[in-house]
Amino acid sequence: MASQADAHAATFSAAELEFLAEDELIEIVPNMRMDPLNLICGDFGPFRPQIATQVPVWLAVALKRRGKCTIRPPDWMSVEKLTQVLEAERDAEKFQPLPFHYVEISRLLFDHARDDIPDIYMVRSLIEDIKDVRFHKIGTGLEIISRERTYALRLKNLSAMEANIVRPFVTRALQTFYKLNSPDMIQESDSVSNRQPQTANRGPRRQLKDR
């Protein structure tokens, strides 16, 4: 019956994360008239030619695919903003703030609204670079978990996709440390005299690592 292993499988699939990201709002400029939509997820419109309006990404993509609107890429997707983020991301140890669903949203727009993104090649490669730098940081960040005893991890500014990717490893590693630190475990290990000198790490250094 139930094995422990599948409890650690990724909680959300990439498609499910995309689904969640599709609820984020984005600005579109319709080229047709349409009455307001009173949807379960909210009321949107009315739609008038050349009058910008906010809709969820899924709605924007649906209209775009039918040639009914242009999508205004969000501010953070400009070459200027992304260049800043990339530089800061390279310089600083911390993660730069980006929209929680930046990976999914940029992907959706690249797939469905290429012609609405100015300098798409530049934007695209900047986002790829940012993603790479961040993933590299995640990797080095994970080393810290393994060097120091960590019980709670603050994942500041990590995006949905990034958190989902590190989830299986991080949660498992932390769980193991937590278990190893349980009082009966420590007594056991202390009684073994020839252990590596780890006492330095057992002190009250519980401040969270900003990752």
């Binding site: 939509l37 997820c41 019980y151 994942l155 958190a163 949660t171 769980q175 937590y178």
Partner: protein, 223 residues
């Protein structure tokens, strides 16, 4: 996860009420319930009122879409309504299915833990009962009936076991990734830890066990 913030637990300020009033539609609540249920190792309380409302909304929307089609409303509009409907139906289904999977997996444990049993909906209880029956019958027919009498229990390894040691249980010390909408302040992880400051909108990896009450009162969301 409370809709009317009044019945939520203490600690809600008026600003939070205001925030939840303007920002939480049922669609949003359903999405959160789905995410929490998917990420929590244990079965959560069935969101009876929310599910009831979502069902009604879906039904209403299905009727509206049908009416639109009959009245020859612009097919584009109809298809957008249909997409919105499909998204909600997906969430509802996935929510219910996630719960059924958990019930199937931990059915004996849920059965003997009153707190968990009471979290199930009426239909889920019926499902669990059938599940238990089938599982007992299956275990009995395939193995247990052929074993010596002290090994016949589907809950215990042998009659000398003091506890039910053959019942799979969810591990509550699993770490989960969570996020709070508001600053929760210093939070005691457990007695041997220093408190952790939980800031608004930051992600934390914490043991489920220690934030369980916060998840159950809707003060923190799993992601």
């Amino acid at each position: 996860m409370e809709t009317g913030a009044q019945d939520g637990s203490s600690g809600y300020s008026t600003m939070d009420d205001y925030e939840s009033l303007i920002s939480t539609t049922d669609a949003e609540l359903l999405k959160r319930a789905w995410q929490n249920e998917k990420a929590a190792p244990q079965i959560l309380r069935f969101e009876a009122a929310l599910i009831q409302r979502s069902r009604e909304q879906i039904k209403l929307m299905e009727e509206t879409v049908g009416e639109f089609t009959r009245n020859g409303i612009d097919p584009l509009t109809v298809s957008l309504y249909q997409m919105d409907l499909d998204r909600t139906v997906f969430l509802l289904r996935s929510y219910l299915r996630t719960r059924l999977q958990k019930i199937e997996k931990y059915v004996f444990h849920i059965q003997k833990t009153a707190e968990l049993w009471n979290r199930l909906s009426r239909q889920e209880k019926r499902f669990a009962e059938r599940c238990i029956e089938d599982m007992e019958k299956h275990l009995d027919q395939s193995v247990l009936s052929k074993l010596p009498s002290s090994y016949k229990s589907h809950l215990k390894q042998s009659s000398s076991s003091e506890e039910d040691d053959m019942v799979p249980e969810p591990r509550l010390d699993t770490y989960v990734i969570c996020r709070s909408k508001r600053f929760l302040g210093a939070f005691q992880l457990d007695d041997r830890q220093f408190p952790v400051n939980i800031e608004a909108d930051d992600l934390y990896a914490l043991p489920y066990k220690s934030i369980k009450p916060l998840v159950e009162t809707g003060q923190i969301d799993l992601v």
